[in-house]
């Protein structure tokens, strides 16, 4: 054969080149332009196992453990991988076929490729009972999680609770994934970023049968979970427990603070609840029950309830008036019941006496001098000026502002300002005579119990407070929040506070004082009673600190609808708290028993010790 078709060689070469060129283009499309394959490959061959860190522990001020963790297990499923004998599976795990189907459906709805929770929070015991069968259930695996455990059922409102993250929280913080836990209230919420730690991840290389081959890239992309930081709180567990016990069958709250540091020793709101109720699989059900309870056990009265403060408010009025110079320590006012109602007592001749006897007309006069200082002739101009000055003073006492405590949802209460009254009555249409009820802690004034305890701290400290807080330091490096070591000054001469201290001492110890029931042998308690009128029965209020010099504890006790003034209910309860804290035990067993058992609206006999004192 001759070689006459040589040019066909070129055709063949071009054919080969064309095919190779098509392959190169195809490769470029697959490997460079289409990013989907990389994801598909990772989805298939890699399994990311999240390492959940243990949540930080919470201790009380004496190192007693308040909250710790317990291991539970989530049964995870990857629907696409499931290869099981369903009936056998149901029998071993202990669920019905219907349950299986509905759980599976839910998992499929989330994703057929990615793992989701099939059954959550399985106890160690339950997991142990079928752990050895797990390998037979292709497509299922177990992930360890932790749940909160509370040894003592106390401080639920302070500690708060942990729950599964909601969609909103996931959207706001990319740290969270479906099924993660987050602090929902209390310290769990405000210190969430410390307590949660840092999640770790392990990327496992899995083969076509979903068996783990080994760590992906020798684990170089893996991260270790970092345990959550611990909280070292200011709470005294013993005192907290005692406060909750004594408030158990009442409605109200107790706040105890160490005045020199602003450390909250106890913060109890009644009715409360056992924090263990809001843990684990029963959480949802219990939460609903508590949320529907008309006595509002989930409501933290100590921080969120706005109450009329009653007569305890007079202490702040006296200090303000003295500092403004509108009265002096020896100012006397007649007890003129035509101005404002009062109980029977001699007219007060000094500020100290006025505090002791809690004379309403006295503070009517005092408040009038604050509000109508005579700057303007026209009282409709003069009153707004005075109110503005007063409002500023009240803020310095921590009233009408949100105290920077490290708990969420603290309320500011209300100190009315000119704008408030202008809104209510119209500009130039109100004066002192319209608003005089504020003078005795009624009217438009509203205070949260934390602010009442803070007032006790201010007097105890003779003029300043440190923002109340619940955590001393946190984390492995014992970080302190410096803000909680700064003095907030009222700017009032400490000498005036000595008058308040003396007055409050007389309230408990002096003849004609309103709170002899708060008397504790050998401890100098200084206090101030309040009886707050409201739509129902009077609320019983008492603030106190002790001892008189170098006070160790300041307390506010608020008992709702107690029928019987501050001296009758709140004062003895406060004294029990004080004695328990200072002595470590309560010697007045009869008082303890009486107030422990008593429910409000009950007539109580006068305790013996108080009777004796009164006779002196």
């Amino acid at each position: 054969m001759s070689n006459q078709y040589q040019e066909r060689s070129t055709v063949i070469r071009i054919l080969i080149l064309t095919v190779v060129a098509i392959f190169v283009v195809r490769l470029a499309i697959l490997q460079i332009f289409d990013k989907e394959y990389r994801e598909l490959a990772d989805q298939q061959a890699l399994r990311t196992v999240t390492q959940y860190p243990a949540r930080g522990l919470i201790y009380d001020r004496n190192g007693q453990l308040l909250v710790y963790n317990e291991a539970v297990y989530d049964l995870m499923v990857i629907p696409k991988m499931v290869k099981i004998d369903t009936d056998y599976f149901c029998r071993i795990i202990g669920i019905t076929r219907d349950e299986f189907d509905s759980r599976m459906k839910k998992a499929c709805r989330y994703s057929t490729y990615s793992p989701s929770i099939f059954m959550k929070q399985i106890s160690k015991e339950e997991y142990g009972s079928w752990q050895s069968h797990l390998y037979k259930f292709h497509g299922f695996y177990v992930q360890q999680r932790t749940l909160r455990v509370y040894d003592k059922p106390i401080a639920a409102h302070v500690l708060g609770y942990v729950g599964e993250v909601g969609d909103e929280e996931i959207k706001n913080d990319h740290y969270y994934r479906q099924g993660d836990y987050i602090g929902k209230s209390g310290l769990e919420k405000s210190y969430e970023s410390i307590l949660r730690g840092i999640k770790g991840k392990r990327i496992m290389h899995v083969d076509v049968h979903n068996r783990e081959i080994g760590p992906y890239l020798n684990g170089s992309l893996d991260t270790m979970a970092v345990e959550g930081g611990n909280l070292y709180t200011t709470i005294d567990a013993t005192l907290q427990e005692y406060a909750e016990e004594i408030m158990a069958n009442k409605r109200g709250c107790v706040v105890a603070i160490e005045p020199s540091t602003g450390e909250v020793l106890a913060l109890a709101s009644a009715p409360g609840y056992d924090p263990n109720l809001l843990v684990g699989r029963v959480r949802g059900q219990n939460y609903l029950r508590l949320a529907r309870d008309t006595s509002q056990p989930l409501f933290n009265r100590a921080l969120q309830a706005r109450y009329p403060p009653g007569s305890i408010f007079k202490v702040a009025q006296a200090m303000t008036a003295l500092n403004l110079g509108v009265i002096n320590p020896s100012s006397g006012f007649p007890c003129d019941k035509s101005l404002v109602g009062c109980h029977n007592h001699p007219s007060a001749r000094t500020v100290q006496e006025a505090i002791k006897m809690s004379c309403n007309p006295y503070f009517y006069y005092t408040y009038r001098r604050i509000i109508q200082q005579g700057k303007y002739k026209n009282i409709y101009k003069d009153s707004p000026y005075g109110l503005t000055v007063w409002h500023d003073y009240m803020n310095r006492f921590g009233f009408g502002i949100r105290l920077g405590i490290d708990l969420p949802n603290v309320n500011s209460g209300r100190i009315p300002d000119t704008a408030f009254y202008n809104r209510r009555y119209g500009e130039g249409k109100w004066a002192f005579s319209t608003i005089y009820s504020n003078s005795i802690g009624q009217g438009e004034v509203e205070v949260v119990p934390l602010q009442m305890a803070n007032l006790a701290c201010i007097v105890a400290n003779r003029g300043y407070y440190i923002t109340p807080h619940l955590v001393r330091f946190y984390g492995p490096d014992s970080v302190r929040n410096e803000e909680y070591y700064r003095r907030n000054e009222t700017g009032i001469n400490p000498a005036y506070f000595e008058i308040a201290v003396a007055g409050m001492y007389d309230v408990v110890h002096g003849a004609g004082g309103t709170a002899h029931r708060a008397n504790i042998p050998d401890i100098d308690v200084c206090g101030k009673t309040g009886t707050a009128q409201n739509a129902g029965d009077d609320h019983s209020v008492f603030i106190a600190f002790a001892p008189r010099n170098n006070p160790k504890i300041a307390v506010a006790v608020y008992v709702e609808n107690a029928r019987g003034g501050g001296g009758y209910w709140a004062a003895p309860i406060a004294s029990l708290i004080i004695e328990k804290y200072i002595r470590g035990k309560v010697t007045r067993k009869d008082v303890e028993k009486m107030y422990h058992d008593a429910a409000p609206c009950q007539k109580l006999p006068l305790p013996k010790t108080v009777k004796k004192k009164k006779k002196k």
Binding site: Y5, V19, Q31, Y37, R38, V206
Partner: protein, 415 residues
């Protein structure tokens, strides 16, 4: 005078062979068996086949080149005998009956049939006394190709049988009418179109093209034109309407599935489409530079079936990325063009025809194998030459190539 063996080709052969072995090593790599030479593993066995191939290649370079043309028919007949023997005593693997089991070595006669047929056909085409324009001569040439192809088809090894179509290229080079190639191309296009769209539309378009050709394109029309165009039109119409019958009755179910997958008519990524789906993911996930040697996540995790053999290119795609894949394609391209260049400088028709046969067989393997792995062609199981794991195929391809390289050493010799 004798020339040295073409070292460019030999170097390319060695590079492809070694890179292929590396990828086999990666494909069956696991920490427990990481020793390079471990007879229990495929990559360990492949070392034996490579050594064996080296010995055979060396042997061929020592043999007198003329001997191959003189014993071409004998080799051909022996291989035909082995193919028949395979049908009688062969062992079944994956639905095919293509192996003779020698215990240690599973002999695949179909691999050897390729070079044997190439030798026989080259020998026949170079005979001085035949007139290829004669029908009988054509028939004999086709018989040489189709007999082994038919025997292999009986073994249900469609892929290997299809390789015999590669002889169309050397035949074309030696003067076969290009109409046969064009007809084949049209048949493939019509087949695909008939499966994808309404057949009446296809026929309608064909009629329009015919009318356009006759009345717009041609200035002068003779009766001959009308007859030819009508005949072609009728043939195409009949072919189009027979596609369904062929598809449903002649193709096997798995072949139908594979074609459906390719045409996007089936999205079954777990059944028949699994291989290609995984193959595309493995290659696609390699990205531009790949995940690195022994770091292919899918390769290591056995997601792609047949990854040491027919789907070995996935390993390249995943671990060496676009760069590595292009280098491999480039190596093959240079080798193929080199063989064609060598073939063109041959003085004897035998050598030239054989050279073209070598290039065509390698090319068709490359085309079908890579086309399949990239999801451009239906899944047809044939190996990637010198690259895929397998003793028979490596040895057979080595023989195929080195016989030609041995012939080439005499290209300057006068006939």
């Amino acid at each position: 005078m004798e020339n040295r063996i073409d070292w460019i080709s030999v170097t390319l052969y060695i590079v492809i062979l070694l890179f292929g072995w590396m990828n086999i090593y990666a494909a069956c790599y696991d920490e427990a068996h990481s020793a390079v030479f471990d007879i229990a593993t495929l990559h360990g066995k492949q070392i034996i086949w490579i050594a064996f191939s080296a010995v055979i290649a060396l042997g061929i370079t020592l043999v007198e080149p003329k001997i191959f043309s003189s014993i071409a028919y004998i080799i051909y007949l022996v291989v035909l005998g082995l193919l028949v023997l395979t049908l009688i005593i062969g062992s079944a693997t994956k639905g095919g009956l293509s192996w003779i089991d020698f215990g240690f070595f599973k002999f695949q006669a179909s691999e050897f049939a390729k070079f044997a047929t190439a030798l026989a056909l080259a020998k026949y085409m170079s005979s001085q006394d035949i007139d290829y324009s004669q029908l009988s001569a054509k028939a004999k040439a086709w018989a040489i190709i189709l007999i082994p192809a038919a025997l292999i088809l009986l073994q249900h090894d469609t892929g290997s049988a299809l390789v015999f179509a590669s002889f169309l290229l050397p035949l074309y080079r030696e003067g076969m009418s290009p109409k046969i190639l064009v007809t084949g191309l049209i048949a493939v296009i019509l087949f695909v179109l008939a499966l994808l769209i309404n057949k009446y539309i296809i026929v309608g378009v064909l009629v329009l093209i015919a009318l356009f050709y006759l009345f717009v394109w041609l200035n002068k029309r003779s009766r001959k034109h009308y007859v030819w165009v009508s005949a072609i039109l009728i043939a195409c119409t009949l072919f189009t309407f027979s596609v369904d019958f062929v598809f449903d009755n002649i193709l096997e179910p798995h072949q139908r599935d594979r074609i459906y997958v390719l045409l996007g008519k089936s999205n079954d990524t777990h059944g028949s489409g699994y291989n290609v789906y995984q193959s595309k993911i493995a290659i696609g996930s390699g990205g531009f530079t790949g995940k690195g040697f022994l770091h292919g996540t899918l390769t290591k995790a056995d997601f792609v079936p047949e990854q040491e053999t027919d789907f070995i290119f996935c390993t390249v795609g995943e671990e060496w990325g676009f760069v590595g894949s292009c280098i491999v394609l480039g190596l093959y391209l240079v080798l193929l063009l080199r063989i064609i260049k060598l073939a063109e400088r041959q003085r004897s028709v035998f050598s030239r025809f054989y050279g073209y046969s070598v290039a065509s067989i390698l090319f068709l393997h490359l085309f079908i194998n890579i086309g399949m792995v990239l999801g451009l062609l239906p899944v047809i199981g044939i190996p990637l030459p010198f690259f895929s794991y397998g003793g028979s195929s490596l040895i057979a391809f080595t023989i195929l190539l080195f016989i030609f390289l041995r012939q080439d050493t005499e290209h300057t010799k006068p006939l």
